[in-house]
Subunit: 353 residues, 4 copies
């Protein structure tokens, strides 16, 4: 018998990310994990293992026919998100969807609308937003610690799998764009984007890409995405007017560093303007102690909280749509040799973010 306090849940898709969802939902006290569903049932069966009571199926209908299932976590390819998530929403289930939310802005918006209509939780698994590092970054931006954000530079490169179905932007940029969406103030979200790329190995689409985003207030954000680099780098610099954060996600001990080294313009007597125009502050660096939590554990707890409290999760479907809007604008720029393309931010529902 399922505990009444627990949310019955199923994982749809047991490929790359599914195992992590299974493990975290399976150890959460908030959930009762009932199904692992995959078109390849053998893969699902292998994954749950020989000693598990979790049921396995290759048919989504089996899952949705189970009244004890209140929510599903979808970790299938993005092209199938719309169909699966819609079916689950139509069946009255809350939905957690892997990034990116869907294959287009229109599809993502459709999911948002249906979830709204039905009063169901639609959450986007922007996992990075639940890491201690990104939560800290959001905090120091929000509370003014680092001042106004002036520039963001992110490098996400390694020898990655050259995906046959999607390009490197579609594969990697959702990470950075969801982090930006989470960390930047609402009024400093990207307004335009330029994208350039290259396909030196003949993949049929970009394997290397550079995205430059305009942010309000002459700020800039830049992403370097690369499947071909032999070295793995995951570093983001967030330059503020008062301090600068450097996030090195691969550093074994010092993931976040806050530098008190900044340049600011100062008023100077006219005759000395050339020499005195800038003030350089070279202060200490501080690396905050961060807890060592698994981000996905926080994701499933936030999903449970949103369901139980009937409120929007931190990374809701709207956040997923905003990420898709930048992705689509980037691809329009890419096809036009890097011209700057505006990111449309339609007021979907009367101005709510």
């Amino acid at each position: 018998v399922t505990s009444p306090a627990r949310i019955g849940v199923a994982v749809i898709g047991t490929g790359y990310w599914g195992p992590h969802l299974l493990r975290n939902l399976g150890t959460s006290d908030a959930f009762d994990l009932r199904w692992a569903c995959d078109l390849d049932a053998d893969r699902a069966r292998t994954l749950v293992g020989r000693y598990s009571t979790i049921r396995v199926t290759d048919d989504l209908a089996d899952v949705l026919d189970d009244d004890a299932v209140h929510a599903v976590a979808v970790a299938t390819p993005a092209s199938s998100h719309l169909e699966i998530a819609l079916e689950a929403l139509d069946a009255g289930r809350h939905v957690l969807v892997e990034k990116p939310l869907a294959a287009s802005v229109a599809e993502g918006q459709k999911l948002v609308d249906v979830a709204d209509e039905r009063g169901l939780v639609l959450m986007c698994d922007h996992t990075y937003c639940y890491t201690p590092a990104v939560k800290h970054l959001r905090q120091v931006v929000a509370d003014g610690t680092i001042g106004a954000v002036e520039y963001v530079d992110s490098v996400r490169i390694n020898l990655g799998l050259v995906r046959p179905d999607i390009d490197v932007i579609w594969d990697l940029a959702p990470h950075d764009l969801s982090i930006l969406d989470f960390v930047l103030p609402e009024d400093q979200r990207p307004t335009a984007v330029a994208a350039l790329g290259a396909d030196p190995v003949g993949a049929g689409h970009a394997c290397i890409a550079y995205l430059t985003l305009r942010l309000p207030g002459d700020a800039i954000a830049h992403l370097h995405l690369n499947w071909l680099s032999p070295t793995k780098v995951r570093t983001t610099i967030i330059g503020g007017s008062r301090r600068v954060m450097v996030w090195d996600d691969l550093h074994p001990m010092q993931r976040l560093s806050m530098y008190d080294r900044t340049v600011t313009s100062v008023d100077a007597p006219r005759e000395e303007q050339d020499r005195l125009r800038f003030s350089y502050r070279v202060g200490d660096m501080r690396a905050p102690a961060l807890p060592e939590n698994e981000a996905l554990g926080a994701v499933v707890e936030e999903f449970a909280r949103a369901i139980n409290e009937q409120s929007a999760p931190l990374t809701d479907g709207r956040a997923g749509v905003r990420v898709l809007e930048v992705l689509e604008a980037a691809h329009r720029s890419l096809r036009r040799d890097g011209v700057m393309v505006g990111v449309t931010l339609p007021a979907l529902d009367g101005g709510r973010p």
Copy 2:
């Protein structure tokens, strides 16, 4: 009495770079260092020191009136290069000029033409090209070790002086562009460039810039230039079809790393194309032992060799002009919000590089 075997030389400009020129020319057996010349004679006097026999002047005419001076090294601001270098060439002296060669392509080309007419050496001090690391990079590209160059990614950022007179592209890109010019094969030089930047501190010009260069054969090169970063990074990745070089100029021990990790497309039976299209090679990494030479010492020796052998130096005025051509194209792009702008490579002298 000057040794007849030694080339009499003077240093013009004793600001940031002048001291290094003085030291290297002063210890070279090829040169007889006679003058330090600066509009601020006190600065020049302080620099040569209390125990020196090197003469000091604030007047270039003093230098050029000295028949024992055969060559000058110019380390003044770029805006004065044309005037000073022209005066020296007109007076029959060989000239070594700091990067960038001049303030515009037209000025640089003028210097090349005059030096050619008079049969004098015009050398550009592209110092990085004389480091053991860059010489090694040029070698592994030239001899096919790394295969065809597919991408170049360079990051040159630190908390630098915000220059009032020039932007960050003009300040830092000459380093990377001169390295690219030196390392890439002649037929793979940049054909177009897109540039975007930001000026968050109110300098009046870009303090952060991103340059994306198109290279023949769908290859790409990208530069990140930044005066505002609290961390100092000087890393260049050169991705080849067979191997990838990573140059970390700040690593205390392992500046160059050659990775045998690459992705290549492979022919696959039609029915398996999605799964087998790419081959991933993950082999060892090799870090070549490099000698510890000061690059500027090699620069002055190359200047001496070119003078004595009456032949073109490795980094001649033409190389300086090519760098200026990309710089000018980048600024045209910057003013047009990042559109891709062609780099003009006029056949200056019937096709000679």
Copy 3:
């Protein structure tokens, strides 16, 4: 019904290491995982989770009464190893024991003797010996790649739990000593050890310790063990006469580096001996590509292989006894203010290692 091809197995002790054993035994095709046993049955139950068919007990007798259990993996505190492992061996079960094998040489030898008498596998879980890095180190020593081992320097420090029951040597040195035992040739095992330590926080035993081991041939090995260091370091240098290996277990990408930089003495004419006595080779560095396997997976496969083939495992009980011999000698030295103490290597069974 258990597959006849699978070895029925139970995990005894579900504290720090038990979860890892459960996970690896549970996903191995060689084993049928039947029990998780802990004096604290709730802890065991939490660990196997709500969706598991693995049985839980707080009574070892339950496990040994199950005829389908052929082997046990013991992950309890070292003080209980003798009793538990003996009971299992007496009941005819193969035994895998966490490091250290037992609480003393005498206890460890007792286990070896009993396992020998009964023809059962006694394996010591020297996990590090099954990492790709340590296997590579063993290989380059064995095949002569790095020449004769001249020195070993190992640093294993971090802000660790100050154990109330055992000192830092007993806690951390088994890692390094088991690695040394695995990597060094049989005839170059430690012959004597000196140990010094400090207890600045009042733990009642050493929280910082330095062990210096004499190896045959004027070679030396040194361990730095420290629970109080704010930084985490796990680096081992193995200096050979031809090459030197540096193993940085925390480096995200380059765990092993092989340096071709060595010093060797050379014969010189008598009159020049002062200047020419040494030859310095400064060659390239090579970082071998290593597979990314979980070591504990290889441990359980080796345990299965030894059981199925009825042969000694790579890290058998004798290896565990040898580690205990050095540990005991180190503690004798520690009590005598660091005097060098011989490691007794009795010929236990006619000379077999």
Copy 4:
């Protein structure tokens, strides 16, 4: 004519360190650099260069005959320090001596005594003590920022020149011992030392050595010295009861890190003592901004200050003698296979440090 405000000075010995002394004395406004003296006058001549007015000689008498010479800086091998420094002191000159002060405690004490008798400055060039990092370390110990020093761990290894005349302890330990002497409070100086080493390359003396020093209060200091390591490491950890400093002298940007991660024992109810005995503080890390000064410049300024103010320099002859005392004790230990040997601290002059 020499400026009366300037101290006439000569450099004796123009080998490895002499050039640095020449450069720093030559650019200091406090000194008038008059001579470079070396048994090999050609070497001295090459060093001062073709454009210098500094006189060169191979005879110390020439230097001491020059009445305008008030002080000498001695950078010859340690075995000659006594003779040269004594001759200079006897001739009434202030003396700056390279580390180590002399070849034995007795010799060093002789120099101290003579300088005292004659009222002359005897300064030891413990260069590291004048780096911003070591000055900061001294400060945070002195002002209580890091609490009581509990342990020091220093690693100074690289592929160094195997010296034919002295072992690795004599070559490298003076650096660490002079730093310890400078940083530790007077009442926490080393009381005993154990030393072990190895000579795998047949140098005739230790090329690898480990020194363990007892400090008052159950504190410990440990030095790893190694000429054979292919990697260069210069790291010192100073563990305090409140904070821990980590000094990485080769880090291009973050030389000093102050960690707020410590373990302290706490009082606990008797029944819970096993679980609650220790408190772990895991706070932020702070890397102080340090100025970028050349240490040797500060050395020569301190030498000038001591001469002009007729007071003891920060690193006086007594500091040099204390370093020699630990060195001698270490060698006694080394010859006795690592037994702990007391460091004698005779009350040389009535108890003054």
